[in-house]
C-alpha cells in the first residue's frame, strides 16, 4: 500500500496531469503520427534500491527495518507544439520495510507558452533557486522530498501559475503557488520521537504562496533577487511530552532572497542569503562559499572541485536546517572516464555545538543504459542541544541503487 498522505497528494496531482493530457489530445492532432513522436519523447528510469541502517532498531524503537529493498520508477515526457512546451515527470517509489516510502509524486506536469519574450506557464513543476552545494537556503518554492534526500535537495512537485519576461541579460518571473504540501516523514531515519500525522499551521493558514524573481548576469557576475510569501515548507518539530511525539508546525514566512556567483580568475564565490519575518520576528540566514576546481591530480582524476561553505541562521531552534553556525567542506571528484564516475564528499562542523556530520556519494555508468549509485551518511558527533543533528544520531545508513534508463 502507498502511504495515505502521499497517496492523496499524488492522486490530486495525477488529476492535474489528466487535465493537461486531455487538453493535449483534444487539440486535434493525428493520432498515429503523434504517437510515434510522443513515444520518442518518453523516457523511463527503473531502479532497484537497497538501504541499510547501521543500527538494527530506530531511535524510537518502534520499527526494526535495518535492511530494506525497493523499486523506484521515474517516467519523463516532453513535447513541443509550436510555441507551447509540455513537460511531465512522474516519480514512484516502493520500499519493502518502510510504508512511508511507498509513494507517488508528480514532479512535473506543466505547459509553458511563449510569445516573443513573454512566457506563461501552469501545472506542476520542480523549481531550483540557488547556487550552493551544501544547503540551499533560497530554494523555497517546492516541498522537500526528504525520503529521497535528507538534505532537502530533492523536491516534490509544486502546483503553479507563472509569467516571465526575458531581456538580454536575464529575466523576471512571478509565481502564484495555489497549493501547499506538508512534509511526509519516513519511518527511518527517525527524529528522536515519532512524528505526528497531524500538522499544525500558524493561524490555520496553509498556503502555497506568491513569489517573484529577477535573474541578472553581466560580466563575471550572475545573481538573482527574489521574494516569497506563504507557508514555510520546512516545519518546526514541536515536542509534545504528554503524547511523546513531535508535531510538525508550519509557520507563515515572508522572505527577501538573494543568490549569486562571482567568477574570479581561479575560483568561484557563492552567496545565498535570506531575510524576512516569521512568528513576528525578523530573521536572517545565509550560505557563503567558495569553489575551487583543481587539476593537479589530472593524471588520475580529471577534475577535483574543492568546496568550503559557511551557513548561519539566527533563528536557532526554529531554523530550517541543521546549518545554523556550521562550516561545510567537501570535494567533488570527476574521474573523467567514459563511464563518468563521480564521487562527492561533504563534512560539516557546528561551531556552537561541535556537531559533526559526513556523507559520501558515488555514481558510475556500467553502460549506455545501466548505472549504479551509492551513498553513505554518518553523524560523527552531536549533542542533545543540537536538536536537528542529534535527532539523526544512531540513524546512519548506506543506500544503493541500480538504474536502467531508456
Amino acid at each position: 500500500m502507498l502511504s495515505s498522505h502521499t497517496n492523496q497528494i499524488a492522486i490530486a496531482k495525477l488529476k492535474s496531469c489528466a487535465v493537461l493530457l486531455a487538453c493535449t489530445f483534444s487539440a486535434g492532432f493525428t493520432a498515429p503520427v503523434l504517437a510515434n513522436n510522443l513515444l520518442d519523447n518518453v523516457n523511463l528510469d527503473v531502479a532497484t534500491t537497497g538501504r541499510y541502517y547501521f543500527n538494527a532498531e530506530d531511535k524510537n524503537q518502534t520499527v526494526d527495518n535495518q535492511f530494506s529493498k525497493g523499486i523506484k520508477v521515474e517516467a519523463k515526457f516532453k513535447h513541443k507544439f509550436d510555441n507551447t512546451k509540455f513537460n511531465s515527470h512522474l516519480f514512484a517509489n516502493w520500499d519493502s520495510a518502510d510504508e512511508s516510502r511507498r509513494y507517488i509524486d508528480v514532479r512535473k506536469a506543466n505547459f509553458y507558452y511563449r510569445h516573443n519574450d513573454v512566457t506563461v506557464g501552469a501545472g506542476i513543476d520542480t523549481f531550483f533557486w540557488g547556487v550552493s552545494e551544501s544547503i540551499n537556503v533560497v530554494n523555497v518554492l517546492n516541498q522537500s522530498d526528504i525520503m529521497e534526500s535528507l538534505d532537502g535537495k530533492v523536491k516534490l512537485g509544486q502546483s503553479f501559475i507563472s509569467a516571465s519576461k526575458r531581456f538580454s541579460n536575464g529575466d523576471i518571473s512571478v509565481y502564484y503557488l495555489p497549493e501547499f504540501n506538508a512534509v511526509t516523514f519516513p519511518e527511518r531515519p527517525s527524529y528522536g520521537l515519532p512524528i505526528s500525522e497531524r500538522n499544525l499551521f500558524e493561524n490555520n493558514k496553509k498556503e502555497g504562496g506568491f513569489a517573484a524573481r529577477g535573474l541578472f548576469y553581466f560580466d563575471q557576475y550572475e545573481f538573482a533577487i527574489s521574494y516569497f510569501k506563504g507557508t514555510r515548507r520546512s516545519p518546526i518539530l514541536i515536542p509534545q511530552p504528554s503524547a511523546n511525539i513531535l508535531t510538525p508546525f508550519y509557520v507563515q514566512t515572508e522572505n527577501i532572497l538573494f543568490d549569486g556567483v562571482y567568477l574570479a580568475d581561479d575560483f568561484t564565490l557563492k552567496l545565498e542569503a535570506k531575510t524576512g519575518k516569521e512568528l513576528n520576528n525578523g530573521f536572517s540566514t545565509a550560505n557563503v562559499g567558495i569553489e575551487y576546481p583543481s587539476y593537479i591530480f589530472a593524471d588520475y582524476i580529471e577534475e577535483v572541485t574543492l568546496i568550503a561553505e559557511y551557513v548561519f541562521d539566527d533563528r536557532e531552534l526554529t531554523a530550517e536546517t541543521h546549518g545554523q553556525n556550521d562550516l561545510f567542506i567537501g570535494a567533488k571528484f570527476d574521474f573523467g572516464d567514459t563511464n563518468q564516475g563521480r564521487a562527492r564528499f561533504l563534512y560539516s562542523y557546528d561551531f556552537d555545538y561541535q556537531g559533526q556530520y559526513a556523507e559520501l556519494s558515488y555514481q558510475y555508468r556500467l553502460n549506455d543504459y545501466v548505472r549504479v549509485k551509492a551513498k553513505v551518511m554518518k553523524v560523527l558527533t552531536a549533542t542533545p542541544t543540537d536538536q536537528r543533528l542529534y535527532a539523526l544520531t544512531g540513524e546512519e545508513f548506506a543506500k544503493f541503487s541500480l538504474h536502467y534508463a531508456f
Binding site: N43, K78, D265, D334
Partner: protein, 274 residues
Amino acid sequence: MKLTQLSVTLVTLQLTLLSGAAHAAPATKQDSAEKGYNIAVALDTRDAGFKDSSATLSMILKNGQGSQTLRELDIKVLENTEEGDKSLIKFDFPADIKGTSLLTHPLRASTDDQWLFLPAVNRTKRISSRNKSGAFMGSEFSFEDMTNKNIEDYTYNFIATEPCNNATADSATTTCDVIERFPVDKHSGYSKQKMWIEQADKKIYKIEYYDRKNTLLKVFTATDFKLYDNKYWRANKVEMHNVQTNKATALKYRSIQFAQGLTDREFHRSSLGE
C-alpha cells in the same frame, strides 16, 4: 572577428574565400605571425552570412581498451558577428542525461559566458574559465573545445605549406597551410595548437593540441567532408584522440541544416531548462 575552431569543426567547417598557390616561407618572425594571422582571418570569414546551423550527431567515447559508449546530441549555432557565434549543445541519449545542455555566449573583450544545464537536479550552472579545460561529459573534448573561438582568443604563427595528407579521398593532391596558435586565456588547457588548414576551401583537416607542459596531448582529425547548400563545407566525421591515454572521442554527423530561422531566444539562458 570570429574564428570557428572546433565546435568549430563540429559545426562550422566550410567554404573558403581563398584559393591558391602554395605559400612561400615567411622571411621574419613578424612576417610569420602576420601570415598566420591572415590565414586565421580567412578561416574565420569563410562562413560569413550562414545565419544559423543545426546538426544532429553521435558521439562515440572509446576508452582505449576497445569498449565504447554512445551519446546522441544536437548542436545549434547562431551567427553573431559582434561577439562571436552562440552555440547550444544538447544531449538526447543516454536517457539519464537527456536534456543536459551547454550554452555558450562568446565575448571578445572578456571570458565567454558559459552555462551547463543539468536536468537531473533541474539546475543551471555557470561555468568558470578555470573549469573550461575540464572534460565535457566524459569525452576527450574539453569545455573550451566546445566553444566557437574568436580571432582575439589566440596569437598566431605560420609554419609551412605542405600536402594535407588527410584520409579524405582527394587530399593527396591538396595543399595545407600549417599554422600554430597560442591561447591568450591563461586557464586554457593548452600551450598551443597546431592546425592543418586546406588552402582551397579552408577545411580544417587536423589540429594537434599541446598541453601546458608543451607535450602533445590530443590530435583532432576531420574526414568525409561534404558541401552543404553549395556553400558550406562540413566534416561528417571527426575524432579527438588523446595520445597520452589512448582514449578517443568520435563525432559522426547525421544531418546538418542551415538558416532554419533560429533566433536569440533559443540561445537565451532561460531556454536551457525548457
